[in-house]
C-alpha cells in the first residue's frame, strides 16, 4: 500500500522540483562567478527534487499503517468556502463591499448545517458593520460600498 502521506507528498515534490528545473533552464544560466537568473532557481529545483525523493523513499519503505494513509477530503466545506471567496471577488468591484461581504458569509456558512437563521442574520449585520467601521471609516480605504 503506497498511498501514504510521505510517498504521495514525495512524488508531488519530485514533480515540482523537476518542473522548476525545466522552467529555470529557459533563463540564462551564467557562471558561478557571474550568476544568471537561472542559476539559483535550478539549485532550488534540484534541492526540492532530491528531498522529495528522500521523502518518497521513506514513505515506500515504511509499512503503510492505517493512520499514515491520507485521510478523506471533506468536499462540502471546501466547495462552500471557495464559492464564498469567488462570490466575494465577483461582487466587490461592481456591487461593492456590503453585497460582497454578505454573499461571502452566507455561502461560507453553507459548509455546516448547524446554527439558526437568526444567528446568520446577526453575523451578517455585525460583520458588515465591522467591515465598514474598520476598512472604510477606520483605515480610510476608498472601497466601493454599494452599487450606487
Amino acid at each position: 500500500m503506497l498511498l501514504n502521506r510521505n510517498f504521495l507528498g514525495g512524488l508531488l515534490f519530485i514533480a515540482l522540483g523537476l518542473a522548476t528545473i525545466a522552467v529555470a533552464r529557459g533563463y540564462p544560466m551564467g557562471s558561478a562567478m557571474r550568476m544568471g537568473p537561472g542559476y539559483f532557481p535550478q539549485m532550488i529545483g534540484a534541492g526540492i527534487a532530491i528531498l522529495g525523493l528522500a521523502l518518497a523513499v521513506q514513505g515506500a519503505l515504511a509499512h503503510a499503517a492505517a493512520e499514515e494513509r491520507v485521510a478523506g477530503i471533506a468536499f462540502r466545506p471546501i466547495t462552500a468556502v471557495m464559492a464564498a471567496i469567488a462570490a466575494f471577488a465577483w461582487l466587490i468591484e461592481g456591487w461593492g463591499l456590503l453585497a460582497a461581504v454578505t454573499a461571502l458569509i452566507v455561502l461560507a456558512r453553507l459548509s455546516r448545517s448547524e446554527g439558526s437563521t437568526l444567528e446568520l442574520l446577526l453575523s451578517v449585520l455585525a460583520l458588515n458593520a465591522i467591515a465598514m467601521l474598520v476598512f472604510v471609516t477606520g483605515l480610510n480605504m476608498t472601497l466601493r460600498v454599494g452599487p450606487w
Binding site: A32, P37, E114
Partner: protein
C-alpha cells in the same frame, strides 16, 4: 549612558497616543485569540497584515508584536480554566494549572501566570534593549558570505525543529524560496516563473501567501472536524495569590525566564519548546520536583514565564540581524519590508524610533496585559462560548477585504484562495507551513548574498568556509543537521515539540 537616551526616545514613540492605542488593540486581540482555540497568533497576524499597510512602521510592529505576546497570556487562561491550551505554548500549563483550578485555586494559578509573564516579559524586553545594539554592531562587519550562512542557518534550524520530519521542513522552506523567486529578477531584469501572466511580474505579495496558507487553509481543515466543545466552567474566586504562593514561584519564574530567553533567540525553537523545557527543568531540579503534576503552582509559573520570555527575545535576531527564527517572526519581518524597511543590522541605526519604540511598547504592553487579564477574567472566559461557526466567517471577511484592499485586485483574492487550497493539501499531507514563509522572506536575501559572495570569491564556493564568522555559521548549520538525524533526538522531538510554528 546611551541606553537611557535610547530608552527615552523609545518612551517618546511608545507613549504617543496612536501607538498606545495600537499597543492596546494588539494585546487585546492577542488575549482574545489566545483564549479562542482554533485561531492563533500566526493566523491573526496573517489576516491583519493588510491592515497595517496604512499605519506607520512603528505602529504596525507595535500592534503585531502585541498580538504575539498577548496570545501567550491568553493561552494560559484556557489551559488553567478548561484544561484546553489556547496556544501550543500553553500545553504544559494544563498539567498543573487545571489541577489547581479543580482544587479551587484557579485564581492564584491565573495570577501567577500573569505575574510570571510580566516579570519574564520585562526581563526579555530588557535583554532585547541591551543585547540588541551589541549584536547589531557585531553584525555590521558581515558581508555577503556571512549573511548567506546566517540565513541558511536560520532556515535549516527552523525547518529541522518543526513538528514532523526535517525533510518535510526542508521541502517547505525550499518551496517558500521558489515562491519568492516569482517576478522580475532584480539583478538581470528577467521575469521568472511568471508564465507571461502580468499580475505576477511584481512577485506574489507576501501577505497573500500568508493569508492563504495560514488563515484559509486552517479554516478548511478545521471545518472538517465536528464542533465538539463543551465548556464546564470553573468559578474563579479570589485572584490574589498568597505570600507562600509568591515565595514558591519566585525561583521558577526566574528559571523559566532564563530558559525562555535562551530558546527565544534560537532559530526554530520558540515559545512552545521553551515552555516544555522550563517544565522539565522544574521537574528535574526544582524544589517542587515530585509535586509537579499534582497541581503545584511552580508548574504554572515556570512554563508561563518561559513562553512569554521567548516571545520577547525572539525579536532579537529578527530586528538586529534581519533573520527571523520562526514563521511568526518571518511575518513580522514581512511587515517591516512592506514599509520599505530592509531588515538587517542597519535597522537600529537608521530607524532607531522603530526599534526603541517597539522595545518600550513591549514593556507597556506587558503591564496592559496584566490589567486586562486579571480583573476582566470573567469576561474573557465568556469568549469560550463563541462557536467556531460564528468565528470563521469573520476571519474570511477580514481576509478577503484585507487582501482586496492591498491593490484593489481581484486576482490577489483568487491567489489567496489558491494558496488556501495548497495549504490545505499541506495539512492533509502533514507538512508544517511555517518554514515556507521563512523561505519566502529569506529567499531573496539568500540568492542576493549567494551571488555576491561568489562574485567576491571569483566563483569559488569555499569562501563560505574560509571566512571565520561564515565558517562558524556553516558549522552550526551542519551540527544542527547531524543532531536532527540522530534517532534518539528524533524520538525525543516527536514527544516534545507539539508545535513551534507559532
Amino acid at each position: 549612558m546611551d541606553l537611557f537616551a535610547n530608552l527615552a526616545l523609545g518612551f517618546g514613540v511608545a507613549f504617543s497616543l496612536d501607538n498606545l492605542l495600537y499597543c492596546l488593540v494588539g494585546v487585546t486581540l492577542g488575549t482574545m485569540i489566545g483564549i479562542l482555540p482554533g485561531i492563533g497568533p500566526i493566523v491573526t497576524i496573517s489576516v491583519l497584515l493588510p491592515l497595517t499597510y496604512g499605519l506607520t512602521p512603528a505602529g504596525a510592529l507595535i500592534m503585531l508584536a502585541g498580538i504575539y505576546y498577548g496570545a501567550q497570556y491568553g493561552g494560559s487562561t484556557t489551559a488553567i480554566l478548561v484544561n484546553m491550551p489556547g496556544e501550543a505554548s500553553s500545553v504544559v500549563t494544563c498539567i498543573d494549572g487545571y489541577r489547581m483550578a479543580r482544587q479551587g485555586r484557579a485564581g492564584p494559578a491565573l495570577a501567577i501566570a500573569a505575574i510570571g509573564s510580566l516579570v519574564a516579559g520585562v526581563i526579555g524586553t530588557l535583554l532585547l534593549a541591551i543585547l540588541g545594539p551589541q549584536l547589531a554592531e557585531f553584525a555590521l562587519s558581515f558581508s555577503a558570505p556571512e549573511y548567506f550562512a546566517l540565513a541558511l542557518m536560520a532556515m535549516v534550524g527552523a525547518s529541522a525543529l518543526v513538528r514532523g520530519s526535517a525533510i518535510k521542513g526542508g521541502l517547505m522552506a525550499l518551496t517558500g524560496i521558489l515562491i519568492g523567486l516569482v517576478g522580475i529578477d532584480v539583478s538581470s531584469g528577467v521575469p521568472r516563473f511568471t508564465f507571461g501572466f502580468q499580475p505576477l511580474m511584481e512577485g506574489i505579495d507576501f501577505a497573500i501567501v500568508a493569508m492563504g496558507l495560514f488563515a484559509i487553509a486552517e479554516i478548511l481543515s478545521l471545518l472538517e472536524k465536528a464542533e465538539g466543545r463543551s465548556v464546564t466552567e470553573i468559578e474563579v474566586k479570589g485572584v490574589m495569590p498568597s505570600g507562600a504562593d509568591l515565595r514558591a514561584s519566585t525561583a521558577p519564574i526566574l528559571r523559566g525566564t532564563a530558559v525562555g530567553s535562551f530558546f527565544g533567540v534560537l532559530p526554530g525553537a520558540g515559545a512552545a519548546t521553551s515552555a516544555f523545557a522550563a517544565y522539565m527543568l522544574e521537574k528535574r531540579f526544582g524544589r517542587a520536583g515530585e509535586r509537579l503534576g499534582t497541581g503545584a503552582i511552580e508548574g504554572v509559573a515556570a512554563p508561563e514565564s518561559a513562553n512569554n520570555a521567548a516571545a520577547q527575545t525572539a525579536f532579537i535576531p529578527t530586528l538586529t540581524l534581519g533573520v527571523p527564527g520562526s514563521g511568526t517572526m518571518a511575518l513580522m519581518m514581512g511587515a517591516m519590508m512592506i514599509h520599505g524597511i530592509q531588515p538587517g543590522p542597519q535597522v537600529m541605526s537608521r530607524y532607531p524610533e522603530l526599534f526603541w519604540g517597539l522595545a518600550v511598547s513591549m514593556l507597556v504592553g506587558n503591564v496592559m496585559l496584566v490589567v486586562l487579564n486579571l480583573p476582566l477574567i470573567r469576561f474573557w472566559v465568556m469568549l469560550l462560548r463563541v462557536p467556531y461557526r460564528v468565528l470563521y466567517p469573520a476571519i474570511l471577511v477580514f481576509s478577503c477585504v484585507g487582501i482586496y484592499s492591498l491593490n484593489r485586485s481581484v486576482v490577489d483574492v483568487g491567489l489567496a484562495a489558491m494558496f488556501g487550497l495548497v495549504g490545505y493539501a499541506f495539512i492533509k499531507l502533514e507538512f508544517e507551513p511555517a518554514p515556507l514563509v521563512l523561505g519566502l522572506v529569506l529567499g531573496p536575501m539568500l540568492e542576493e548574498n549567494f551571488r555576491r559572495a561568489l562574485v567576491i570569491s571569483h566563483g569559488d564556493p569555499t569562501i563560505l568556509f574560509t571566512r571565520p564568522i561564515s565558517a562558524a555559521f556553516m558549522a552550526l548549520t551542519a551540527l544542527m543537521l547531524v543532531v536532527m538525524l540522530l534517532p534518539a533526538v528524533q524520538r525525543g522531538k516527536r514527544a516534545a515539540i507539539q508545535d513551534d510554528a507559532t
